[in-house]
């Protein structure tokens, strides 16, 4: 799963180099959300949010 996260960031860098600014920003924001989810998973063994 962690390798997938790096793969998403590799894609974001690739999009930036391919002159796709908006797509790379969207990819970066998606990568940040998934990084936060992975951090939560390693803290609590779940990525679900509960009240």
């Amino acid at each position: 799963m962690m390798a997938l996260l790096f793969l998403i960031w590799t894609g974001a860098f690739g999009l930036a180099l391919a002159n796709r600014r908006r797509a790379s920003v969207v990819g970066g924001l998606l990568g940040l959300i998934l990084t936060a989810a992975m951090f939560r998973y390693h803290l609590t063994d779940t990525i679900l949010l509960g009240l």
Partner: protein, 184 residues
């Protein structure tokens, strides 16, 4: 023509190199000291690359609020992750993870770098002229610098895909890894 905007593009490229050099340094510790990175260490690397990514966007297309936003979010996330790891080892007798570099462990250095970068971005955001009209063309040297730095980020990210796959395969990484799961 050099103006605030093009100077900021180069400064962002330099800051991105700083973030990427920390990831490269972590690679050095991993292979020279034969230390397998823990999941939180890998997440810190992701946050470092993410912070550098936003700075690369600034270097490539000029400063924009959304680019700084990506970097700031990554720095806050990275500071949180590294602070979590510091808190795991801050109580005396709880040990530490990995060897120290210049007196601090890598996660402590990471927290210092993320905090410094947040302050640096906040300071740089006060220069309003960098967001001005994009009529003047940047000097020709700016684009190759930006592309070169972004290539470094791409290369580091891609190599991390390989090394993380070797360490964790497709599943979740073990909390305290002692060896790679794929033996080459």
């Amino acid at each position: 023509m050099w103006n605030t905007r093009s100077v900021m593009q180069v400064l962002n490229a330099v800051a991105a190199v700083v973030m990427f050099s920390v990831v490269a340094g972590a690679y050095g510790v991993q292979f020279i000291n034969s230390e397998v990175p823990c999941p939180l260490c890998l997440l810190i690397r992701v946050a470092m690359l993410a912070a550098g990514f936003g700075l690369c966007l600034n270097a490539l297309w000029g400063p924009r609020a959304v680019h700084y936003g990506v970097s700031l979010l990554a720095c806050v996330l990275g500071a949180g992750i590294s602070l979590r790891q510091v808190s795991l080892h801050v109580v005396p007798g709880t040990g530490s993870y990995g060897s120290a570099v210049l007196g601090f462990h890598l996660y402590t250095w990471a927290f210092i770098v993320f905090s410094t970068m947040i302050l640096a971005i906040a300071a740089v955001l006060t220069f309003q002229r960098q967001f001005g009209p994009r009529k003047a063309l940047a000097p020709k040297i700016v684009k190759p610098i930006a592309v070169g730095v972004t290539c470094i980020g791409l290369l580091l990210s891609a190599t991390n895909v390989v090394t993380t796959t070797v360490e964790c395969t497709a599943g979740a990484c073990p909390d305290n890894p002692t060896s790679y799961q794929i033996h080459l």
